[in-house]
């Protein structure tokens, strides 16, 4: 059976199209598993996974934890708020302490860009990046592409617009890499203050008019306005943001075709999208959540498979 070309999943920019296809094929299998009456396989019952969350997370952490449990791995959870990190311990020491307990794989979320890359060079375990600062969030991008593939049959040739705060978004960056790798066309749309100046160097287009962007695309991936990552105000108020970039039902209905609406969650209802849009038949937001478990099972399974046991 084929293997991933990487030992860790740190970023989409480190993997290739064959890796993505392998992950998706494996996820197809696991999606079938998690819809059985007995939702569990014994594949990783001799593997121990540490979930290190140095930054708050609800859904990503739950999704990983569920994926690990469905694979029968032993898991330990660690979050910064209850750890010695607050006492000044360094990342390497924290990770090495946990590895001394014979952990095989680490799933890590960290506020610092490059933290997973750094860890992979200094500890002897497989690393899965669950989000590092404004760098990458590869499993989110994979589950987003997987959901597009499920809904539209393929990602290749599709037009995807990513709407919102691109500057502070690891989801946007990973999505751009993943979508480009699979041959999709990508545009970003949002306030100019939240679009990186050199974003076009990644081969994506920029559109500042939300209506034009939606008219162009097959899929709109709408990002959350990340107030917690903003040190200053990049726009005057969420009210004004909603006026300029919010997606509501009349706007969707005014388009010449039915587009697919995605959102990585959690939604600021009434800001990026209205409840009506989130709950509409065009939205695949809850499918993304379900697919998240299957895709994360696939990633962990494929990385664990490389561990000599």
């Amino acid at each position: 059976m084929s293997q991933l070309s990487v030992k860790h999943l740190i970023g989409i920019k480190h993997i290739n199209e064959a890796d993505i296809n392998l992950i998706f094929e494996t996820a197809d299998h696991f999606k079938e598993v998690i819809n059985r009456p007995i939702k569990k396989v014994p594949s990783l019952r001799d593997i121990t996974i540490a979930n290190l969350f140095f930054e708050n997370s609800t859904r990503t952490k739950l999704s990983f934890e569920l994926a690990e449990k469905r694979l029968s791995a032993d898991i330990i959870n660690f979050s910064a708020s209850q750890s010695s990190v607050k006492k000044g311990e360094t990342l390497i020491d924290t990770a090495n302490n946990i590895l001394s307990m014979k952990v095989d794989l680490i799933v890590m979320r960290h506020p610092n860009v490059g933290a997973c890359d750094f860890l992979s060079k200094h500890v002897n375990a497989r690393i899965v990046n669950a989000g590092d600062g404004t760098h990458e969030h590869p499993t989110q991008a994979l589950l987003d592409s997987y959901s597009i593939r499920e809904k539209l049959g393929s990602v290749t040739g599709k037009k995807v617009v990513i709407v919102g705060d691109i500057l502070h978004s690891r989801v946007a960056l990973s999505n751009i890499y993943a979508l480009k790798l699979q041959g999709a066309e990508v545009k970003v749309c949002g306030p100019k203050t939240l679009i990186p100046k050199y974003i076009e160097s990644l081969g994506v287009g920029v559109e500042y008019d939300i209506k034009k962007a939606l008219e162009w695309c097959d899929v709109a991936n709408v990002l959350r306005v990340q107030n917690e990552r903003m040190a200053i105000n990049y726009f005057p108020s969420t009210r004004e943001y909603a006026q300029l970039f919010g997606i509501n039902k009349p706007l969707l209905d005014s388009l010449s075709k039915k587009i697919v609406i995605m959102h990585p969650g959690p939604i600021n209802r009434g800001v990026e999208i209205t409840s009506e849009v989130a709950n509409s038949d065009q939205s695949i937001i809850l499918n993304q959540v379900e697919n998240g478990v299957a895709v994360r099972m696939a990633v962990i399974y494929l990385l664990a498979e490389q561990i000599q046991r």
């Binding site: 990342l91 610092n112 860009v113 490059g114 404004t134 760098h135 690891r170 050199y198 160097s201 990644l202």
Partner: protein, 417 residues
């Protein structure tokens, strides 16, 4: 002590022996003879080295030695020995010590610690008290105790009026003011050059605009106040243009560039190696071309290593938590020797910085003080940790191929090889 140097090619545009291969006889630190061949009649100590080249002693205008306060990074003693073995007969040390070198007592302490070495140490005094960018420190007092210029190292002078007052005040005693070119309201907490690589990596960008706006502002102020302003470590193409225009206007402005900003681009960032985290950040090849042209055209006066030892506890951490800075004394010559024209390189390490910082120049001719750097410009090697003499090992040039090896120095009547 008498010393006979055999077959040395002299690289010194101010010397009548420029580009000639000669024997040099030195007695008690003074050049006694320069001739085609000098016989060793007195059983003098003889220096005969492979492909030996000799220039005036190099002067690095921006190094940090940590002491006092950060001795775990570097001490003055090991720092000066490192400088000597790397070819530097003089260094200017930044005031970013603890306590900050913002008063005569600290300046005196640093000077006293540096007595008796081959390499001479010249302290830079902090422009403002505790480098807090609020009140001017006692500049004249520090100058009297050996401070050669005044600045807050990498802390920009955010308050324009403070720079205005400093430039005016320092004219009373012909003081040189340094202003680090960065507008913090634009730079914010940027980590790396804002460009396509920062976008690819999701690293917070530090736009060239932050540097250029500050330089433009400083030059406006300088035009108003007169006085002497040195802008350390410029890094962008537009900065070169701004300084070129100001020099054309006749302003007394000088500037330096770091060795790493002349050869490395932000492509180095791709694997998050924290040694690449430097201020100013690594820019693009377009900037490098403009900086080299600026050197050749005389717009940029000085090359510095911007030697900044950082202990492993502050470097072997996640990229955003790592401190800015790289060591550079050991690698400067090897990194630049084949990139920058030899005469330009040597001038930017010798006569130019000595003139600007007003310290003694010793030309290679009979009767002058022997203040010499000995090197072999053709020796190629891979720079590894074994080449690092500094206490801290944070070199941006680790594992890079360098050409040009420094043998050492002869200075202050001492030979360090």
């Amino acid at each position: 002590m008498t010393l006979l140097i055999k077959s040395a090619t002299i690289i010194d545009k101010t010397s009548p022996f420029h580009n000639q291969t000669k024997d040099i006889l030195i007695e008690n630190g003074i050049i006694l003879k320069i001739e085609n061949s000098i016989e060793n009649k007195g059983n003098f100590e003889e220096i005969q080295l492979d492909n030996l080249h000799i220039s005036q002693g190099w002067f690095d205008t921006s190094v940090c030695f940590g002491e006092p306060g950060f001795e775990e990074r570097e001490t003055i003693e090991n720092g000066l020995n490192t400088a000597a073995k790397s070819g530097f007969t003089a260094v200017a040390v930044n005031p970013n010590t603890s306590p900050v070198a913002d008063n005569k007592a600290t300046i005196e302490f640093i000077k006293n610690k540096a007595c008796g070495f081959a390499t001479s140490l010249y302290p830079l005094g902090s422009l403002t008290k505790n480098s807090e960018s609020e009140d001017i420190a006692e500049l004249f007092d520090m100058k009297n105790y050996g401070a050669i210029a005044f600045g807050d190292y990498k802390k920009p002078i955010s308050n324009a009026n403070l720079l205005k007052i400093s430039l005016q005040y320092a004219q009373n005693f012909d003081g040189l003011i340094m202003s680090y070119p960065q507008d913090n309201s634009i730079a914010r907490n940027g980590l790396v050059n804002e460009e396509k690589n920062s976008t690819r990596l999701g690293l917070k960008g530090l736009p060239a605009l932050a540097e250029e706006m500050q330089i433009a502002r400083d030059l406006f102020i300088l035009e108003y106040t007169s006085g002497k302003l040195h802008i350390p470590s410029i890094s962008t193409a537009k900065s070169v243009q701004l300084i070129k225009d100001a020099k054309k206007k006749g302003l007394q402005v000088t500037c330096s560039v770091t060795a790493h900003n002349l050869v490395l681009t932000d492509d180095e960032l791709m694997d998050f190696d924290s040694n690449t985290k430097v201020l100013p950040p690594l820019r693009t090849s377009k900037d490098i071309n403009a900086l080299i042209k600026g050197l050749n055209d005389g717009v940029i006066d000085i090359i510095t290593s911007d030697h900044n030892p950082i202990d492993i506890e502050h470097k072997k951490v996640e990229y955003s938590n790592a401190k800015f800075g790289t060591i550079g004394l050991e690698s400067l010559f090897g990194a630049l020797n084949k990139v920058i024209d030899t005469d330009v390189l040597i001038a930017s390490l010798t006569t130019n910085p000595r003139k600007i910082f007003n310290i003694e120049i010793n030309c290679i001719k009979v009767g002058e003080k022997a203040d010499l750097t000995l090197f072999n410009p053709d020796d190629a090697y891979t720079f590894t940790e074994a080449h690092i003499l500094s206490t801290s090992k944070n070199s941006i040039f680790l594992n890079k191929k360098l050409t040009g090896r420094v043998y050492g120095v002869i200075a202050n009547n001492k030979t360090i090889l």
